[in-house]
Symmetry: C2
Subunit: 426 residues, 2 copies
């Protein structure tokens, strides 16, 4: 059985857990059991068993044919926490080993996503209140810096354990069923470069460059000059070192600054996996930046996690993993393009590629779980396991999408007639 099928069996916090268990020992009451049934009903009666701390097992009514997993709630405080803000309480309790999942975590989360989506009407009062309560933090320049630091400056050594060798932390593109993560990340970068029709000598600005893989790929394989922005100190340091080692430091400039400070004129504007951290309030400003820096015959590409319709971010992800993050719907994204009268040329939805990418990350993460625990602790391992498994589930169930949008200044006729350049016939 893979380790993640029984989350939190690690030894180092076992003592702490036992203490908690002792503190809330005792039989579950009729109220406890009634509340548990309420939680199942509010979640749309997903086919899972909830086991309380005294061994009592509760199932949805009527009992479903296939139970996908058993969720063990290990003390009364955890049960009561689930009543207040279910997503946050569930994530925190799973991380702290106060909830244990017996069964496949991804399957459980997929089941919960599908069931909850069906249970709550789309325009309901509850969704709107939840949306307001869970609104993301604002991304002022200083706010962005602190939000980004929270996630991306955990340590390059940690990410190296489970990302591909070039440290690409965004949705890959699997051109074939049997492509590896490494191949799929290379293919994604080529997919982006082809969509932008990069030609040697052109100048590209990149907003949010991660560890620099795409900037380096564009410079090395497409012969362009790149100016790449990022506010994560750790990532910029890593990217500069790598560019220097490859002798590309004359061709790629990594700028440790907010993308909004960018100056000059460029043939292409590219941003892969940054928009999730920008916040809807700042989309118009992002569009203004793109309009200001793009040459009249230039092209832009924005690649971002998104939604089929506006919805709040998962509040546990927003609080514990990605502060300030928000995946927009296409109508929300249009605020980037329409006020500038950009012409949207091409939108591709790569949702199933991100489900596969996250699954590859989760598998590598599990393989390295002992080393992650040695670097941090077992709570950290459980929290990141939940985040990665939850991401697989969100993309598999369609709760999240991945949009790649190509655009150009509205007055430009230097746009491709067809998309044949993206699909070369060899």
């Amino acid at each position: 059985m893979p380790k993640h099928q029984s989350a939190g069996a690690g030894g180092s916090t076992l003592l702490g857990i036992e203490e908690r268990r002792t503190r809330t020992a005792g039989a579950s009451s009729a109220l406890d059991r009634w509340l548990t049934r309420r939680i199942l009903a509010e979640s749309g009666q997903p086919p899972l068993t909830i086991e309380l701390w005294d061994g009592t097992r509760i199932e949805p009514e009527p009992p479903p044919a296939d139970i996908v997993a058993r969720v063990e709630i290990r003390d009364r405080r955890t049960l009561y926490g689930l009543l207040v803000n279910t997503d946050v309480a569930f994530g925190d309790a799973l991380s702290a080993d106060r909830i244990r999942v017996h069964g496949d975590l991804v399957t459980l989360l997929e089941t919960i996503y599908r069931s909850a989506d069906a249970a709550i009407p789309r325009d309901s009062w509850k969704r709107r209140v939840t949306a307001w309560l869970n609104r993301p933090r604002r991304n002022s320049r200083s706010g962005s810096k602190s939000n980004i630091h929270h996630h991306y400056d955990i340590g390059n050594d940690f990410y190296r354990l489970w990302l591909d060798q070039e440290m690409v932390y965004t949705c890959a593109y699997y051109p074939r069923e049997d492509a590896t993560l490494e191949e799929a990340q290379q293919a994604k970068m080529d997919h982006v470069c082809r969509k932008l029709e990069l030609r040697p000598g052109q100048h590209v600005v990149e907003a949010g460059c991660g560890w620099g893989a795409l900037a380096i790929h564009m410079a090395r394989d497409y012969g362009v000059h790149v100016r790449a922005f990022n506010i994560s100190h750790e990532q910029i340091r890593y990217a500069r070192k790598r560019a220097a080692a490859l002798g590309l430091d004359g061709q790629v400039e990594f700028v440790e600054d907010d993308y909004r400070t960018v100056e000059g004129k460029y043939d292409a504007f590219v941003s892969v996996g940054m928009l999730e951290h920008v916040g809807v309030d700042n989309y118009r400003a992002l569009g203004e930046v793109a309009a200001r820096v793009l040459k009249s015959d230039g092209r832009g590409l924005i690649h971002s996690i998104g939604r089929n319709a506006p919805a709040p971010n998962n509040p546990w992800i927003e609080r514990r993993i990605f502060p300030g993050s928000y995946p927009p719907s296409l109508s929300e994204m249009s605020v980037i393009f329409e006020p500038q009268e950009f012409s949207v040329l091409d939108i591709e939805n790569l949702r199933l590629h991100y489900a596969r990418t996250c699954r590859a990350w989760l598998e590598r993460f599990e393989t390295a779980a002992d080393r992650v625990e040695a670097m941090y602790d077992s709570d950290f391992v459980r929290a990141w396991r939940l985040y990665l498994a939850g991401s697989v589930a969100a993309f598999t169930t369609g709760s999240l999408q991945l949009f790649q949008v190509v655009f150009a200044p509205g007055e430009s006729n230097e746009v491709p007639m067809t998309r044949d350049h993206v699909y070369p016939r060899n």
Copy 2:
């Protein structure tokens, strides 16, 4: 010199024109000349000469290097009309031969589009008032029928003169530079069918089927069953006859009714060139129809003229050519998809293909202009010449876009990983 370079030189209305000229004979006044300069200034000083009825020529200030055309205003009433509602007055006067264009009509219109766009600020009071004044007619079911009758029931013989042999009256797809209109319309239908991944035996519903070319193409070349809706009596009659002649009447059913009455479940929902006539108020209902009739693993495609940002339709086109029409921006189109939580899989902008399609139609129309005049009159010829030339200009300058949107129910994982199926490697 092609005939359309000097619009309205036809003989049959020459007498009428002379009468009008006589009625307003006399020298232009200082006021007339001042007003003419105001019109040029309000239009952003486009590089053209305006010639008044007494031969006075007025040019923008400062005089531009390259004058693209000379616009002859043939009486005082026409000049004053231009001050009130410029677009409508210009279109009507050109149709009635009270304005003549000396020079290439498409080039003139492109110049006017570009110049006007630059002259009026995007968020200006003037744009908003114009938008309100020029709001399109509503498309209730009875309103739609009258609006559609106005355009599509002019007579099949007329459209046969300048459309391709299969009477496809929507944007073509030019896979190669040297493709003919006939080839490009076939390629467009294949492009649509590939995007929908049609397989033999599947059931397709088409909303707004024109003269039936796509429905017949899907049935004949992809082996699907098609139920195609249209409220134009003339078009349905033609389509039924053609399907019967091809022995496809068992496989394609043409329904003379509003698409909103459609019942049943289908593998694909397709609508090519109908959305322009639906009206934003009815987009949500259109989405509901698509959601109601699509199987959970089905796919939809909507192909429509659009805009980079919301803007009023050209009021002359809306009044004289296409009552009730409105080209939406992507944010406006999102009202079809987001309330139903459809997953948008693919958006392609085929703007330059429509510029080319309209140019091909204009060229064929010019070749047949004498026959069109014999069928109707010279005012009709000039009006349609302006409409076709204006369409070329609108797509060339980016005033109009052409969006092809592929979507699927949000919960479906029966969606393609890549777009390789649209671009077969032979």
